[in-house]
């Protein structure tokens, strides 16, 4: 059930969106699945998120946005990680994201996008895979 050795991930809310029911659910579900999870809280800039990811030495970053700002903010987190020399930390994302944006986000370096209704097991499995490869 648990991941060994303990895999540490960051769940973050970039931008100004305050809807964090989903982010909190994923954080708790990952914790229950054996991950060590740091949740940033709402309203973080891409740079704050990248700084936290580096400082906490996480194996992956999960982003959530429901405000429609994902096309700007998710790639900005990938960029901010690069600038901090942490391009190897994989970034995953979820939220109110239309199907046609998924490809754009993947091209911008986000390794996985979860749209509404994705079963949580699938999300946990994706984090596990990316943690193992990290």
């Amino acid at each position: 059930m648990t991941t060994t050795p303990t895999c540490r991930v960051l769940i973050a809310k970039p931008g100004l969106d305050g809807h964090d029911r989903g982010a909190k659910f994923i954080a708790r579900a990952l914790r229950d699945a054996g991950f060590e999870v740091i949740y940033t809280g709402i309203r973080r800039t891409p740079d704050e998120i990248a700084a936290a990811a580096v400082q906490e030495d996480v194996a992956a970053v999960g982003l959530s946005s429901l405000s429609g700002a994902h096309l700007r903010l998710f790639p900005a987190v990938v960029e901010a990680l690069k600038i901090r020399g942490a391009a190897d930390i994989p970034v995953l994302g979820g939220g109110v994201i239309p199907e046609e944006d998924v490809q754009l986000l993947k091209e911008a370096g986000i390794v996985a996008i979860f749209t509404p209704g994705t079963p949580v097991d699938q999300i946990i499995a994706a984090f596990r895979t990316h943690c193992e490869h990290h």
């Binding site: 100004l16 305050g18 708790r28 309203r43 405000s67 700002a69 700007r72 903010l73 900005a76 239309p98």
Partner: protein, 546 residues
């Protein structure tokens, strides 16, 4: 025996007065066949228990509704929440909605506006015009309401931390149209407490936030007596994952906090209590939701009477807006959402709402298109004009199930409110994280039930299909951010900087001295001082909540 007396008294007094002031929509309400639909069905024996717990509509404890004739007199306000991109585009959507028969406006502001940032602030990147309209200065507000006479429409504004600024802009726009403040009708959300636990658009810490809210109560009590100064909102608490009973408990506990804060500042209860309004969520569990609305009305009336000792009926009435539950919308088989919204809207109407927003089928994917908004509005119109539920008042009253559920929700809500009070009140419970934990635990449990398949969500964890057709979605043009920044720069360059500085200095002084902020804010917006500039002064004085 007692039935005749009490019932006759209600008919002769409250009902007769109400019909005289607001005649019913039809002379006679009949079914197909010509049978008359009774205005109010009551049990054959009106015992003490009935009178204490249900009573008559328009009478304490208001379980059966706040008006004696409810929708026979006037339908609820069909108020569709709208806003995106620029003020000019949103103005077009408002005019479209008014043409299609909405009866009230409801402004959605973008997140930078809601958090007191101008569109050119670094914090606003990516969010300008996304979940609502971007408003930086009075110029945007003038465009937003162009061609819409503000004495003929009621406007609700979902704005909290900077509510005083947007209200000030609205007042000034009206003034320029020749409409005096006392004629303005509408509501500002102005409910900061739920922002800390559920919605996230706070700026300042709780204490100065409550002070600004009290300023608004006081100023509006004199200057805009027909404007609702707050919409105490359970909607977002429920969206964050609370149960129905928690939604009521946390909302009413917040309401008590606002009252306490206003009383502490020396305001007279009945001078502002009648302008407190509420905002609830309508989810898909139809009967539970109906019971919830009834329980909320009764519990609030009892609190106002027994705890705050008001004798004024309008101060005891819980009047509320409802929005259907956004979190229940699915990204799969989106037409199914129309059915969910229908059930939810019906719950709101059977529960006696004063106004209603129905969500659109495509909102799990993006902002709604004009077509889906029209269907959402038609849903309300079908309930209003075809379903027949509007012909009689509180039709589910007296159902054993509904009444037991109403009692249970009232009791559960009162219990949680007691716990909060024992723990030092709402602000202490926000600071300790108690309220957030209550909501999170309920949300987690609910989602796990879905994940385990114990709770069926049609099209998501049962009855799925392969979907190939992608719906047409509304996209906000990414160029909007640039346009809005250019417009703001133009306005900032065209002001008298001495006058701008003088007004901002006065604002800062007023804030430091604890003077009512409304006059200084109105003076500032008149000079096209931006929302961000005003909030930045207040941030310096009050600090920021993190």
């Amino acid at each position: 025996m007692s039935k005749n007396n009490d019932f006759t008294q209600w008919q002769d007094n409250q009902l007769a007065r109400s019909i005289k002031r607001f005649p019913e929509r039809k002379g006679k309400f009949t079914n197909h066949g010509g049978d008359e639909v009774p205005r109010l069905a009551v049990p054959p024996d009106l015992d003490r228990e009935y009178l204490d717990n249900l009573g008559f509509p328009g009478c304490y404890p208001f379980t059966r509704g706040v008006q004696p004739t409810m929708y026979r007199g006037r339908l609820w306000t069909m108020r569709q929440y709208a806003g995106f991109s620029t003020a000019a585009e949103t103005n077009q959507r408002f005019r479209y909605l008014l043409d299609q028969g909405t009866t009230g406006l409801s402004v959605a502001f973008d997140l930078p506006t809601q958090i007191g940032y101008d569109s050119d602030d670094a914090m606003a990147i990516g969010e300008v015009g996304k979940v609502g309209v971007a408003i930086d200065t009075l110029a945007d507000m003038e465009t937003l309401f162009e061609g819409i006479p503000l004495d003929q429409v009621s406007t609700s504004m979902t704005i909290n931390s900077p509510a005083a600024v947007l209200l000030a802009m609205y007042i000034v726009v009206a003034e320029k149209q020749g409409v005096p403040p006392e004629k303005l009708r509408g509501t500002i959300q102005n409910d900061i407490l739920k922002e800390y636990v559920a919605r996230g658009t706070y700026i300042f810490p709780p204490t100065p936030s409550l002070k600004i809210i009290t300023d608004i109560f006081q100023w509006c009590g004199t200057n805009t007596p027909a404007f609702n100064t707050i919409s105490i909102s359970g909607y977002h608490i429920r969206e964050a994952g609370s149960t129905a009973a928690q939604e009521i408990a946390l909302t009413l506990a917040n309401g008590i906090t606002y009252i306490q804060s206003a009383l502490a500042a020396g305001l007279e209860l009945d001078a502002f209590a009648g302008r407190l309004t509420f905002f609830f969520n309508a989810s898909t569990d139809l009967l539970e939701e109906v019971a919830k609305f009834r329980a909320a009305r009764r519990l609030w009336a009892r609190i106002m009477k027994d705890r705050f000792h008001t004798e004024k009926e309008s101060s005891m009435m819980l009047k509320f807006h409802t929005q259907t539950a956004g979190n229940t919308l699915t990204a799969q088989q989106i037409d199914n959402n129309i059915v969910r919204v229908t059930i939810q809207a019906l719950a709101a109407v059977l529960g006696g709402t004063q106004s209603l927003h129905t969500n659109s089928r495509d909102e799990a994917l993006s902002l709604p298109t004009e077509d889906s908004v029209r269907t959402a509005l038609r849903t309300q119109q079908i309930i209003a004009h075809e379903s027949g539920v509007t012909d009689t008042v509180d039709p589910l009253a007296g159902s054993y199930f509904i009444e037991q559920l109403t009692d249970r929700i009232e009791n559960q809500a009162a219990d949680l409110m007691g716990k909060i009070e024992d723990a030092g009140g709402v602000v202490a419970c926000i600071e300790s994280g108690f309220i957030q934990r209550e909501i999170e635990a309920a949300a987690y449990e609910y989602q796990q039930e879905i994940e385990r398949g114990e709770r069926v969500i049609v099209g998501v964890n049962r009855f799925q299909v392969e979907e190939n057709n992608r719906p047409t979605l509304l996209r906000v043009d990414p160029a909007v951010e640039k346009q809005q920044i250019n417009r703001l720069t133009g306005i900032k360059n065209n002001r008298d900087s001495q006058s701008v500085n003088a007004r901002l200095t006065r604002l800062e002084n007023d804030a430091r001295q604890g003077v009512n902020l409304m006059p200084a804010i109105i003076d500032s917006v008149k000079e096209y001082i931006s929302l961000g500039e005003i909030c930045s002064v207040l941030r310096q004085v009050y600090g920021e909540y993190r």
